[in-house]
Amino acid sequence: MLGYIFRRVLQAIPVILVVITATFFMVRAAPGGPFDAERQVSQDVLQSLNARYNLDAPLWKQYVDYLGNLLQGDFGPSFRFANRTVNEIIAAGFPVTLELSLYAILIALVIGLTTGIIASLRANSWQDYVPMSISMAGICLPNMVLGPLLVLCFGIWLGWLPVSGWGLTPGDKILPALTLGSTYAAYIARISRGSMLEVLSQDYIRTAKAKGLSSARIVFVHALRGALNPVISFMGPAIAGLLAGSFVVETVFQIPGLGRFYVEAAFNRDYTMILGCTIFFAVLIILCNLIADVILVWLNPRLRTQARLGD
């Protein structure tokens, strides 16, 4: 297993290097610079700004300098948030995104698995059709629509919950977590229903029933374990997607998470911020996929043999 992990990590290094290089040159090739504004700054001012951020050096030198700093773990200063470094912004923004994603995952798992299991046990009844239709709607409804709808309902009409902010007023974390989690809940519900149905028709479940085990024991111990595999392989990319893709929810609910910084950086041509976030998320996604694969291998004896054979 360790050899497998080591090999995967080695494979990741060139991937990250390509990501860094491509991003570095692509952001600089995009029209418009970080200091362009409708009220144009004079040449002298522009020169001193470029000098301060090392933008007056030849491109290759900027690249080499950047890589050098990166090796020391320094992402450089942000152009847009003038008195902060990219490291600081990531350090402040990522925990927020992580917390939001964590709540969203919990909501997705609890709602998704519950409805998925119930639907599979009551296949082709109203207890199957109703939640599955709702989940289809959940998948189709983008966050940028669902978020404002929830806000309108719970924040403005009912007045139960705050409509924006993160940790500013009690309860302000509920709506964003619910919005972000609901789409994933819908996916998980459908995936778990499908895999549960498949597992429930297997011979060993019939054997378990014949042995006279309680239905709760059959469902939660025997069936679920097998049915979780597709959910877990979905969760790896889903968690990465949640972390990198919480931008919409962060914008709708005014959350100072990393997703919002990332997308705004692209609009602002905040080169260092774009690069920092890209590298950070690239590493994160590779890591999430690796963890999901490792868990899968660990849960599935067949894959375990394959992984060992590859050593």
């Binding site: 029209p31 144009q40 004079s42 948030f81 008195n83 009551r122 403005i156 139960w160 910084f261």
Partner: protein, 545 residues
């Protein structure tokens, strides 16, 4: 299984009831704010920095006005100059020397006295070439400041800024500047606390941690309390402020809201007392229902189309005139925008208490057609392909579409619409890669100069690349006289040249529409949309004290 479903439904219902029970006695930030005198303001966008020399944006200015105070300040409603750190001043006969007497009780937020040396030190920093101050040029009104800023002069003693003693500051001007006092209340003229700036990186460095909570020292009515990037920046009352008795608010929270839509939601959910704007599609509805929180007022800013005079057929003044005369501005403001904007027929917005432009761009379709025919395009035949460029925004698109339609209908010409992302748009404007582009300009201070000097030859903001020697001369002459009547005469003539030559087509004077909670008392809107916090308080009572 039915049982399980029922149980789940029960749990969900119980959760909802609990939520409702919790929320019924929950006080909104607005209600709590009224009790604790904490004002919640939507500030639309994140502050890049609060150092007065490192940024040009409006969200920054609103915060800086709470954290700093210049030699003079202004009244919130009329924008009339009132004493700030300086309690009085003298102006020499020739109008070229100003002597300011600073009040002895003006203090930094750490208790240090605010001295004339602090101002001189700050202003020296502001024009240090290495600093890269965006607003460095505003100091060019002082003798030799331009040469110093451009690195042509290295001896600051020759610049017309001198601290005669701890409480006397004298400035010598390069020429008469009738709006000097207004300029001195502008943010770039605010003092910074020299020891604090030096402690965190030195005078020649921008973007150092001196502007962080805990490090920050300012001289305004409030002091920095907390700052979570992309969420909110809060300030609390500065107990060392010389006029602290007139400051009734304990705190102000500025939210880095991402859009007008978010702000409106926050307002409706009781999270904001004041929004920066209202989504344009909702303005009409608020106006119609006469909503008590709805406020709309014109700004000192003009929305216009810049015509690139270097590109044919726009190099022909007859074509430019034809395009300008064939636009129905009233239709744009009343049918498309519906947000209280006023049609503009000249570049400088009218200021009721001062300068009102006399020149007026006509709207005359018959004349427009005739001019187009004279230029060689009768009924628009053979008119080359040109496009209207705008940055991505629904409002810009709507206006461009209407104008495209008007030109098609009135002149028989087809123009294309070109939509670009903000930074791409900026890059293309900078290199003149456009024919017609949307544009906007807001005044820094209330004087026609802040508008008209935009269009001087090779001016940094002159998007049309237009040049007129008489125009340049008039702007220069206006900067050399202290006689207000004479100045205005020069500006009127310049304005007339602009209307006659049409390097730009003014479309409308911007307006601001915002929601202000009825509990906010003593708040005044003004044409610069500058916030002033002195005398503002929160009260649930209907009557103002």
């Amino acid at each position: 299984m039915m049982k399980i479903s029922l149980r789940i439904v029960t749990v969900i219902l119980a959760a909802i009831f609990m939520l409702q029970a919790c929320s019924s006695d929950r006080k909104t930030p607005v209600e709590l704010g009224i009790e604790q005198q904490i004002l919640h303001i939507g500030n639309l966008g994140e502050t890049s920095d609060i150092d007065p020399h490192g940024n040009t944006g409006q969200p920054e200015s609103q915060i800086q006005r709470a954290l700093f105070e210049g030699l003079v300040s202004r009244k919130a409603d009329t924008l009339e100059t009132i004493p700030g750190v300086a309690e009085s001043w003298e102006i020499s006969e020739d109008g070229l020397t100003y002597t300011f007497y600073l009040r002895k009780n003006a203090r930094w937020s750490n208790g240090d006295p605010v001295t004339a040396h602090d101002f001189a030190w700050t202003w020296k920093r502001a024009i240090t070439p290495k600093l890269g101050n965006h607003y460095g040029y505003t100091f060019y009104v002082f003798k030799n400041a331009e040469a110093y800023h451009k690195g042509e002069l290295t001896d600051f003693d020759q610049v017309g800024i001198k601290a005669l003693d701890d409480y006397t500051l004298q400035v010598e001007l390069a020429g008469p500047v009738p709006y000097l006092l207004e300029l001195l209340s502008f943010k770039t003229m605010y003092p910074v606390h020299p020891p604090t700036v030096q402690k965190f990186g030195g005078a020649e460095q921008l973007s150092t941690p001196w502007t962080r909570p805990g490090n920050f020292v300012g001289n305004g009515p409030f002091v920095l309390k907390d700052w979570v990037v992309n969420q909110a920046l809060s300030v609390r009352k500065n107990d060392y402020y010389w006029a602290k008795d007139e400051i009734k608010l304990n705190e102000i929270h500025f939210y880095a809201t991402s859009s007008e839509t978010t702000e409106e939601r926050m307002f409706r959910a009781g999270q904001l007392h004041i929004t920066y704007e209202i989504p344009s599609e909702k303005k009409e509805s608020y106006r119609k229902q006469n909503h008590p929180a709805f406020h709309s007022f014109p700004l000192y800013a003009t929305y216009y189309y810049a015509l690139n005079v270097k590109k044919p057929p726009l190099d022909d003044v007859r074509v430019r005139k034809a395009l300008a005369y064939a636009i129905d501005r009233r239709l744009i403001t009343d049918r498309v925008l519906k947000g209280g904007q006023i049609p503009a027929y000249a570049f400088t917005p009218p200021n009721k208490t001062g300068y009102v432009p006399e020149a007026k761009m006509p709207e005359d379709v018959a004349l427009a057609r005739q001019l187009l025919a004279e230029a060689g395009y009768p009924d628009g035949k053979g008119f080359p392909r040109v496009s209207i460029l705008y940055n991505t925004l629904d409002q810009h698109k709507a206006i461009a579409e209407v104008i495209q339609q008007m030109w098609k209908q009135n002149l028989g010409i087809d123009v294309e619409l070109r939509n670009e992302d903000w930074k791409v748009w900026l890059a293309n404007i900078k290199i003149g890669n456009f024919e017609i582009s949307r544009s906007g300009w807001g005044g820094d201070y209330v004087d026609p100069n802040t508008f008209l000097d935009v269009h001087v030859t090779d001016g940094g903001q002159n998007k049309s690349q237009w040049s007129n020697t008489r125009y340049d001369e008039l702007i220069r002459l206006a900067s050399q006289t202290g006689d207000q009547e004479q100045r205005y005469a020069f500006f009127q003539e310049a304005e007339a040249i602009l209307v006659e030559e049409v390097p730009i087509i003014p479309l409308y004077t911007y307006s601001r529409s915002r929601l202000i909670h009825p509990s906010v008392k003593g708040w005044h809107n003004n044409i610069l949309d500058d916030y002033f916090y002195r005398g503002v308080y929160l009260s649930a009572d209907d009557e103002e004290q």
